[in-house]
């Protein structure tokens, strides 16, 4: 049996095929390309972000001294202290304190988002802040944790400088506080200008109150900081280099996000 078909139909079929192919392009990538072992052992660019994660370290001698100092302080003072702290302060209380200070850091994150022109993230941060400040009882509860739409990546001013194209400058280690870079340190100082608990634009007039707030925030964060520090250095053959490269890679990822 023969039927007559308008000449446009074969073209329509081809067009449809092309559309289908395009729609599923990712699924139809030819993944039969087997690698020889030698190919995988070459430097082939998949050492992710190796270029952008580079960080100059001209102050290495001084940094090593501060790193050693911090290492001794962490292991001999902070670690024993945090063991007692987590024993005495219940987990829920520590979580509440962490939520409270995290909520107070909203202006830093908002500024970081706005400086990157990420208005969507800025509005997410604002929504999260408003809900947690009210329904979350001044931020002690994270009332938004079940809402994926209100979990933007944390932004800061150092990241904004990174997206503007500024490199790290150089790496340095701060006593007690740990790794940073010239770019990120300047960003941190900039963040103090919008932080309600930090000078110079603080909303907490009494300097003793400010010190107490800073101390509580720092002490409450210590268990997590010590965990991360031990995790990185525990399996490292060169802890200083492991922390420096980890810092550079992490910041590169945060800037790229």
């Amino acid at each position: 049996m023969k039927i007559l078909i308008p000449s446009g139909i074969p073209f329509a079929i081809i067009a449809m095929w092309a559309l289908l192919s395009k729609a599923g392009a990712e699924d139809f990538v030819d993944l039969d390309d087997l690698l020889e072992m030698d190919e995988l052992l070459d430097d082939d660019g998949t050492l992710v972000r190796e270029g952008s994660a580079a960080i100059a370290d001209p102050l290495k001698g001084l940094n090593l001294a501060f790193f050693g100092f911090n290492d001794a302080v962490y292991k001999n003072i902070f670690q024993p202290f945090t063991l007692q702290y987590v024993r005495v302060i219940p987990k829920e209380a520590r979580k509440g304190i962490g939520n409270f200070f995290n909520n107070l850091e909203y202006p830093r994150r908002l500024t970081g988002s706005l400086l990157q022109f990420r208005f969507g993230r800025a509005s997410q941060e604002t929504g999260k802040f408003l809900i947690n400040t009210t329904a979350g009882m001044a931020g002690f509860m994270d009332a938004t944790q079940e809402f994926e739409a209100l979990q933007p990546p944390k932004e800061d001013i150092g990241q904004a400088f990174g997206t503007w194209g500024f490199k790290h400058g150089f790496y340095f280690v701060l006593p007690f506080l740990g790794p940073t870079s010239l770019r990120d340190f300047v960003g941190r100082i900039g963040g103090n200008y919008v932080d309600p608990t930090s000078e110079p634009c603080t909303q907490v007039d009494d300097s003793t109150d400010r010190m107490i707030l800073t101390a509580v925030d720092t002490v409450n964060d210590l268990p997590d900081i010590i965990d991360i520090y031990n995790s990185i250095t525990g399996s490292a053959i060169d802890p200083y280099t492991a922390v420096r490269d980890g810092y550079a890679q992490l910041r590169a990822v945060q800037v790229a996000e």
């Binding site: 049996m1 023969k2 007559l4 992710v48 420096r244 980890g246």
Partner: protein
């Protein structure tokens, strides 16, 4: 006007409109499922009733599970990079064993402490025709940790993990920097001594 037989038309339509068997996507999903299965088996071992047993007691089982999808030889050689060739054959064997033990001992201890972590895996992303990345979230005592696995389709091995990224930090790249730093001033035998010391401390 062209003319076609109905049979020809159906044949063309079947070839074009019917969704093509999505074998590539299924392959990737299978790889993801296999990785998820492997890591859950690892957690089974770590959180078994005798979970307080030291790493050395579980080592063979842990390596036996991970070995199916993790190419430790590739991970370690990539971590050492050009420094791999500074080692003689005996040193290569020792370094391979010591680093594997050091890394597995450290990471399994973290997964073993506290309640059993919950794992969530996401759809694999294609990097190149022979490399993919599988992202996952580890919910560990209410903390969320992003862990990504980079896999390569290696001849005679299939899809194998060749790098692990924790919060975006590449383990291979991080170790590469450490080994480069070590070999600037120190030797292979000093590396072996250092690894042995680290293992004793861990």
């Amino acid at each position: 006007m062209n003319s076609f037989s109905i049979r020809s038309l159906f044949a063309i339509l079947l070839l074009t409109v019917t969704p093509l068997p999505n074998l590539r996507s299924n392959d990737l999903d299978h790889t993801k499922d296999a990785l998820e299965f492997t890591l859950n088996r690892l957690l089974d071992v770590l959180h078994a009733s005798h979970s307080n047993a030291p790493y050395s007691d579980k080592k063979d089982r842990i390596i036996g599970i991970l070995d199916q999808q993790f190419s430790f030889d590739v991970i370690i050689q990539r971590s050492l990079g050009r420094n791999w060739n500074k080692l003689n054959d005996s040193q290569k064997d020792q370094v391979y064993t010591l680093i594997t033990d050091l890394v597995l001992q450290s990471y399994t201890r973290e997964l073993q402490d506290g309640p059993r972590p919950e794992l969530t895996f996401y759809k694999p992303k294609v990097i190149t025709s022979s490399k993919i990345e599988i992202e996952s979230i580890v919910l560990l005592d209410e903390s969320k940790i992003n862990i990504s696995y980079r896999l390569a389709n290696i001849k005679d091995r299939g899809w194998q993990v060749y790098d692990v990224l924790v919060e975006g930090i590449s383990m291979v790249s991080n170790y590469r920097k450490q080994f480069d730093e070590h070999f600037l001033k120190k030797s292979a035998s000093e590396l072996i001594d250092l690894l042995k010391t680290k293992l004793q401390e861990a």
